[in-house]
Structures are given as C-alpha cells and as structure tokens.
Symmetry: C2
Subunit: 352 residues, 2 copies
C-alpha cells in the first residue's frame, strides 16, 4: 500500500498448481486432473480451474511432470552438420512431425563426418524418450550406454549392418543400380563416380550399387574421385575428372550438392550438360529442381522415412530389448535435364 505499490504490480513469479487451486477453491490434485486428458473431473470444476489458470497465467510445468511420469516427451535429434542442404530439409520435416505428435525436439549439431560420442552424455542427462541420429554414428560403447538407460536410438540415413542400432535408410545400393542402368541405357560407356565422405554408409552403398551393376553389365575402368559432401568438393573433383586426357562422359555424384558443384565446373569449362556430359545426383534436395540445374537424381522418400523413424522409436520404447531392425525405403529416379535420356526412349507420351 505504500510507495512500493506504485512501482508496479509485483511480478508474481512462479505460478504453480497450488496457486491455481487456491484461486479455484479446489485441491491441487484437482488442478492436475483438469489439465490431463483422462483425469476424471466434473466439467464445471474443470472450467473453474481453467479460468483460474488463465487468470494467473499458469502453464503446467512439463519438467515436473516428466520427473514423475518418467517420460519427457522430448526426442533428441543429433545431426552431423546442418550446412549441407539435405540436412535442414530433413530437420524441418522432423520438427514438424514431432510437433504434430505433441513432442519436443532437443537438437544437437555435431561436426560433420565425426562420431558424436561427446554429445551423448548431454542428451542422456535430459532423459529423452528417444534419440534420432541423422547421418552420423555412435560408437558401440555409447550405444550400450543408451541401451542401459533405456533410450531407444534410431539411425537415420546411416546403415551399419550389425552395428547394434536400428536404422531407417534409403535403399542406397538399389539407388546406385538405378543410376548405372540409366547411364548405360543412355549409351554412356565412359563413366565416373565422385564419392562422398569415405566413412559414410550412404557413400559406400551408393557406390557399391553403382559399380556392381556396371560390372554386371560388362563395364570396367570406371573413374573415381574421392570427395566430401560439399559443393566445393564436387567442383574440384569434376575439375580433376575433366582435365584428364580421357574425361568421362557421365558422372554419378554421391549426393546432389556434389553434383551441383560438378555441374557448375562443367559449365564454366564450356562442357555442355547433358550433350557432352551427363551428371546425376542423389537425394533430390530442393535446389535440384532449380531451372539453372534441373538435376537428374534419386529422390529419397523422406516423409515416409520420417514417419517410420518415429513409429520405430515409439515401438522400441515399449519393447526396449527387441533386436535392432533396419528399414529400407526405395528411392525414385527423377529425370530432369542433367542426364541424357535412354536412346530407345520415345520423345514424349505421344510416341508411346
């Protein structure tokens, strides 16, 4: 009533369910029930509680709830580098899917290409309900820590057979085969592969599918350049390839971002795409459809893969000791302008 009151309303910090209960004239446990879906509360009581809560600006404390229910509703998402365009594309979809399901995402970024063991303790401290690791791997020691903590782990876009973790992945081997078929059917015989980071399963599998199919169809002597998953890397690798005495007439790049770099280098040197050189990527990132690139590529069915990841996480939480599974999703060939069409192919629907 004195001078102090004039300073302004004392900010009533830290409103709890007890405050709401007092105002609504009920017990604290009733407040709790009013905020839970299945709590049996008289409709009228609930209305009174909710009104009091609104007046006080009360929101249930999810931290306290997590502690007692032993469920945080938080999923950990660890990404190895968000800078490569496929990653934010995936992350955004994960965030949306999680939000739709009423879950939160604690997101971590790891230096690309590295193991993410250092990050794990922080993730586990927050007792996340599950852990999604995209484009990275966890050592088996850390994987065991997760198992011991009862935290299910799903590897997204990384497939380590026998690695002890469940995985959701595009069928990269089959994708590589698809590209080999496409290029061979278009008449190419002088082929090259620009690899992504050496230690990634995506690179390994895409390369394997590609070269195996080439071999099956009698092609040998395919060129190879080691790259990383970056534009600059594709640009440089393509330079080395095109400076050869016997340059390739078709290049399969381990990912779209590599292909974009290769495409730009080719153009700069006056090599016409696809007339002189076919270039194919993998992922179908948003940029692949830019008219400047019109990249022929393999599309990963990201939405289905994300839904499967979340379903698997749920499943594993119920049955933590079930053996790891791997779910493979077929990629789809998207033909745009950067690769020659099969020679036998008709010009359009009319010709069919």
């Amino acid at each position: 009533m004195g001078v102090k009151a004039a300073i302004g309303p004392a900010p009533a910090r830290k409103i709890t369910s007890v405050d709401v209960a007092r105002l609504a004239g009920v017990h604290q446990s009733t407040v709790s029930r009013a905020f839970s879906d299945d709590g049996s509360v008289a409709a009228e009581t609930r209305a009174r509680v909710l009104a009091a809560a609104r007046r006080l600006g009360y929101t249930p404390n999810a931290i306290a709830r997590s502690l007692i229910t032993n469920q945080s509703n938080i999923v950990g998402v660890v990404m190895a580098g968000i800078s490569s365009p496929f990653q934010p594309y995936v992350l955004e979809k994960f965030l949306q899917a999680l939000q739709e399901r009423g879950r939160q995402a604690l997101v971590f970024s790891a230096p690309p290409g590295q193991e993410i063991d250092d990050i794990l303790p922080a993730v586990l401290q927050y007792r996340v309900d599950g852990l999604i690791i995209t484009s990275a791997t966890l050592s088996s020691a850390r994987l065991e820590d997760c198992a011991r903590a009862g935290t299910p782990v799903i590897l997204f876009n990384r497939n380590v057979p026998g690695g002890g973790a469940s995985a959701v992945c595009c069928d990269n081997v089959e994708g590589g085969r698809l590209v080999a078929n496409l290029l061979l059917d278009a008449g190419h015989r002088r082929l090259a592969y620009i690899a992504g980071s050496a230690n990634s399963s995506t690179n390994r599998d895409r390369e394997k599918g590609f070269t195996d199919r080439l071999y099956e169809r009698g092609i040998v002597g395919t060129l190879r350049e080691q790259g990383r998953y970056s534009y600059e890397s594709g640009y440089e690798a393509a330079r080395r390839l095109l400076e050869r005495d016997d340059p390739p007439d078709a290049i399969f790049c381990a990912s779209d971002i590599i292909a974009l770099g290769a495409l730009d280098l080719a153009r700069e040197r006056g090599v016409r795409v696809p007339d002189d050189l076919s270039i194919v990527g993998f992922d179908d990132i948003p940029m692949a459809r830019w008219s400047a690139y019109a990249l022929t590529t393999i599309r990963q069915p990201v939405d289905a893969m994300i839904a499967a990841t979340l379903a698997l996480l749920q499943e594993r939480r119920a049955a933590p000791d079930a053996p790891p599974v791997t779910k493979l999703f077929p990629g789809a060939l998207v033909e745009r302008g950067s690769a020659r069409r099969a020679s036998g192919e008709a010009g359009g629907p009319v010709g069919g």
Copy 2:
C-alpha cells in the same frame, strides 16, 4: 541362481544417485556434490563416487536438477521455416554456441511468415531459460505471457520498434543505403527492388534504406516487385521485370535466395550479368560465393549477432524487468561478380 539368471543380466533400469551412493558407501547428497563443480567433496571420495557411477552407467538426471534449481539450461529456439538457406546457417551457429556454453536447444519450426503464437505454450511448459525467435514475431499478448513467466525473449533478425521485445538485428536500413550507393556509383540509373515477404521487418528496413538513399541522390521511378523469401519468387519477379518495355539495369533483391532466382532467370534469357544487369542480394549465404553465382551482397555479421543474443539472454535472466533494447549490427558490402564496379574505381590494386 535359477533359470532366470541364464536369460541375461536383468537391465537395471533407472539408476539414480541413491544406487551410486549405496555402491560407493556414501550418502546420496555426497553423490550430488561429487557431480557438481563447486560441491566440497574430498578428492578421494569424489573419485570413489565417480568410479561407482561409471560402473553403474549413471548420469545425473537433468530434469530433476532443473526442477530444484529452477533453471533448465534449455533455450528455446523458434524459427520460421528452416528451408530458406540463411536459416539453417544461423541455426547451426546457434546450436554450436549453445553447446559450447553447456546449454541445450529445444527447437521449433513454424510455418514461415506466420506468427508463432501457437507454439509458445509448448515452449513455456518446458520452463526454458530463454527464448530466441528468429525471423518471426510474437503477438504482444504472448510476449506478456513470457514476461509473466519470467522468460526473456530475444528477437533475432526481426526489429519491431516499440514491439516490447528485445532484438538483435543487422542494420538493414544502412545495408539498403550501401546497396543504393554501390549501384548509383556504378552508373546505374534504372533501378528495381524485389521485395521479400511484406510483413517482415527485414524487408521493410532494407527497402527503406535503399529507396531513401535513392531519393536523396535524386533518383525516382524505381521499379518494385513484391516477392517472398524464395528462389522461385525471385525468378518470377525478375521475369516480370525483364519482360517490361523499360527493363531495369540493376536489381536489388531483399535477400540472397531471391537474388539467386533472379540471376538464373536473367541468364536463361541471355541477359549478361553484370554487363547488362547488376544484381545484388542480402545476407551472404554460403551459396552466394559459389562460382556459378558470385553474388555481390551484404554480409550479416552472424557470429557477433549470435554472441550478442546469448549475452543479452543471460543479462535479461538476471534482470527480467529491464526495458527492451535493440542491438543493431552493421552489414558489410561483399563485392563479387554480380554487380558492376563503381566507374571511378581502379581495376585492381595495381591501378591504385
């Protein structure tokens, strides 16, 4: 000892500090101290506790800690769309900065251009220590909810004077002026502006700085196309501009991604950049330096802006009722190949 033992080690779910205390032969509070930095524990005791913890695979429960310390160590990050390339670039830097400071990030993605009021309750339930909102705004009602909950809010890359929230922002008005000067000094007189989303402060400020400076220097009749922050939008807007009877010879785009679309459209139509047309963007996203684009642009000092955001958050947590402040950071002109150089300018260092 019976059949059950053969099934395997019963997974000792939910190890707590009590379990560790028992194994180490100390009280539970001593375990807690051993895991805290300043807790006074005998070195030998701490070692024993840590050994026991390792053996049991114990990690302190951060959820329980948050409840008692009233500090979650979690920062909420709300982004309006991660798909535009500047956003993941910023997000990655935020995540890294937060990790370095021992903090976690609860990340939310909102539909771009929209208000993010719906997301706020979820954020507040988790009692985040602070909230960073990038490229989006909160209604004043929701801002008040945050104030009442004692959660400091910083707007990143959005500047709403008198909006009631603190903000960290590039000086977009000054950036717009810089571009006007550059283009005028290079001899351009027929100018155009491709706008970003109409309701964004970034667009408003960049346009204002640009047109004000043009006006000051006596240029009128500047063309304007409304766009959104997307490649496609820049592509289409540039088409409309270049199909005119009196096309511009220089275009300032509200952001780099718009400029990239404009650049590609120009090329497709055989318009030479920068000989026939200068194009300037804003942000300096990683793609701007790709050799295919070599985009002249304004670089936002993102690292400094992020450090300031985090410092401000810390500050506001200590003094929640301090009035909102806005920190403006100057952008830097980065001249690459997409805009003509000033006519008076020497060709290189030799000519100086």
